[in-house]
Amino acid sequence: MSMNRSGGPVTAAPVGRLIDSLARLPGIGPKTASRLAYYLLRSSRDDAMALAEAIIEVKERIQLCSVCFNVTEQSPCAICSDESRDGAICVVQEPLDIVALERTGQFHGRYHVLHGAISPVEGVGPDKLRIRELIERVERTRPDEVILAMNLDLPGDATATYLHRLMAPMGIAVTRPASGLPVGGDLEYADEVTLGRALKGRRPL
């Protein structure tokens, strides 16, 4: 008797396969996977097909932009082809970071997605990221400014420092977004690292 991971012989094989596939998604354990699978089983055929098609569509039609490596339907992506964008490049770790930055409405240049950050513990070195492509692009296009919008953790800091060192001899303005206190936050509740960084980065009014 073969027992699969998700319910044993009492679960029909196709349902078991669905549960196993769902359980591989991040943040979803076996119990949630079962719940989702039975929800899909009960939902209308149209809803289920729409989900299936959406998944197939992203896999078939989405690619990485040949310029900035953001996820896109056509390459170069909409942002890279937008002539009204100015000559700055904002380097980010993940495509989702672009969504957050675009929401600010404060940046009008183009992006470059590294798809990760340097983290030797996880075996991620500079060669595993889109760093070579970034350097070539910077040499070719000579942007007015390169903004290193990495996460404020060790891998993010390591990546920013590494990139800065590579670009320093190129005579390009390299900046990092200011770090500090959250808007609407109370000073007294800020942790000392954040507050310390905010003080270090203070500016005249």
Binding site: R5, G29, P30, K31, T32, I118, S119, P120, V121, E122, G123, G125, P126, L154, P155, D157, A158, T161, Y162, R165, L166, D191, E192, V193
Partner: protein, 430 residues
């Protein structure tokens, strides 16, 4: 500062326990396995966010916890501390890896994944925001193994003491650990691929981690140099009290700074032991300033950087970080002879007691208030005279003191005989 109450749920042998603790403290008696040590352990956990005893935090969760309600095994431990500026509640919640998160071929009990949450006034905080709110020093017969054991045990002892006094230290420790893991990851790749230290690739990738290692590491080395020097002064007095006039010393042996006294710096603030139950109002004592100065930040950073340069070839060959506070040791010695290798069992026991008493002295001198003193079955391993001397030293702190013993009459005839006595057994205290 003292602990007013302790609440345990599913903690070790206790299903549920509410304990009011008098400001002077408690005596807890009971046979082995009755749960008296668990009380002391719970208080130390609230103080330091880690257990000194448990190999794995899973051990803290009562066996069979959670099965009644069909929830993952859990344990809770919380307490209310009273201090001059008002009360605060501290809590630690542990939850064993729930079945939902793991594949079924890995039973959740054996996997040992325990999630720990620290709470201050009911709000989740990082462990480093909990540590230091309830200062404590614990004494246990097992401590003697620290003297002759591996250096990691002695570093932990010193780290736990300093972390309670200095938040920046704990932050540096945690950052140092993360940086070193990353740096080792990189060195491992260099060693595997035979990359030379002089190559552009090695230099451009390692520089960031070197800077970070030095940045976090110099804080650790500096604080250890300073506080170990102070502890040594205090411990020498304590050792003499317990054992008569021998020259007891505690030294920080670091590969980062050679000949610390010759570098630019300042002498550590002088300290003295608690003699008569009063908190020393200032630190002016004659003859207690150690010779060695504590080098300043810049001197330690410079020394750290040149040691890294010296060991670079070895690091690249072996693929691990070879210089830094993670390789250092704290050496206890008697008349300049290291106790760990040459001391008798009795001398080692007195040495660690002197160091622990010195820790409490330091908390009074630097922290301004005596810590909660946790004595777990310490009298069982001491001869009556040393036991009496220890108990008298403890009593002079005028601190909240929790003492456990197998024999309920063990403390009757001592100065701590006046503490309320509770009997532990079968998961209860009465």
């Amino acid at each position: 500062m003292h602990l007013e109450s302790l609440h345990l749920e599913e903690f070790r042998v206790y299903r549920e326990l509410d304990l009011a603790i008098p400001s002077a403290g408690l005596r807890i008696a009971g046979p082995n396995g009755s749960g008296k040590s668990s009380i002391v352990e719970a208080i130390a956990l609230l103080s330091t966010a880690r257990s000194q005893r448990a190999g794995s935090e899973r051990e803290l969760i009562r066996w069979g916890s959670g099965t009644d309600y069909g929830v993952p095994p859990y344990a809770r431990c919380s307490g209310r501390i009273e201090r001059s500026e008002g009360g605060t509640s501290l809590g630690i919640e542990l939850e064993a890896g729930s079945a939902d998160r793991e594949s079924d071929d890995q039973p959740s009990l054996a996997s040992g994944v325990v999630r720990k949450r620290c709470l201050v006034d009911g709000r989740p905080v990082r462990a480093m925001d909990l540590v230091g709110r309830l200062r404590s020093v614990s004494f246990s017969p097992e401590d003697v193994a620290i003297v002759s054991g591996p250096p990691s045990g002695r570093r932990r002892l010193i780290d736990v003491a300093i972390a309670q006094l200095d938040r920046r230290y704990l932050q540096a420790l945690s950052r140092y650990g993360r940086v070193m893991a990353q740096r080792n990851g990189l060195l491992k790749v260099f060693a595997r691929d035979g990359i030379a230290p002089s190559s552009a690739q090695a230099r451009s990738q390692l520089m960031f981690w070197d800077d970070e290692l030095i940045d976090a590491g110099h804080v650790i080395v500096g604080r250890r140099l300073e506080l170990v020097a102070q502890l040594s002064t205090l411990a020498a007095v304590r050792y003499a009290e317990l054992a008569g006039g021998a020259d007891f010393a505690v030294d920080y042996s670091t590969g980062v700074v050679r000949d610390a006294g010759s570098l630019p710096g300042t002498p550590p603030r002088s300290v003295r032991p608690v003699a008569d139950g009063t908190v020393p109002d200032d630190a002016v004592v004659d003859g207690t300033v150690p010779d060695a100065a504590v080098p300043n930040d810049e001197a330690i950073q410079t020394a750290f950087r040149s040691r890294l340069a010296e060991r670079q070839a070895d690091e690249f060959r072996r693929g691990v970080s070879l210089v830094g506070p993670h390789r250092d040791d704290i050496v206890l010695s008697l008349d300049r002879v290291p106790l760990g290798t040459y001391g008798s069992r009795g001398q080692q026991r007195l040495g660690i007691l002197a160091l622990k008493l010195a820790e409490a002295d330091l908390m009074v001198a630097v922290g301004g208030q005596p810590p909660v003193l946790l004595l777990d079955d310490v009298l069982s391993e001491l001869d009556p005279e040393r036991g009496r001397l220890l108990i008298e030293s403890i009593a002079r702190f005028d601190a909240q003191t929790i003492v456990t013993a197998t024999d309920r009459s063990a403390l009757d005839a001592t100065v701590l005989g006046g503490l309320p006595l509770l009997q532990a057994g079968a998961g209860t205290l009465r």
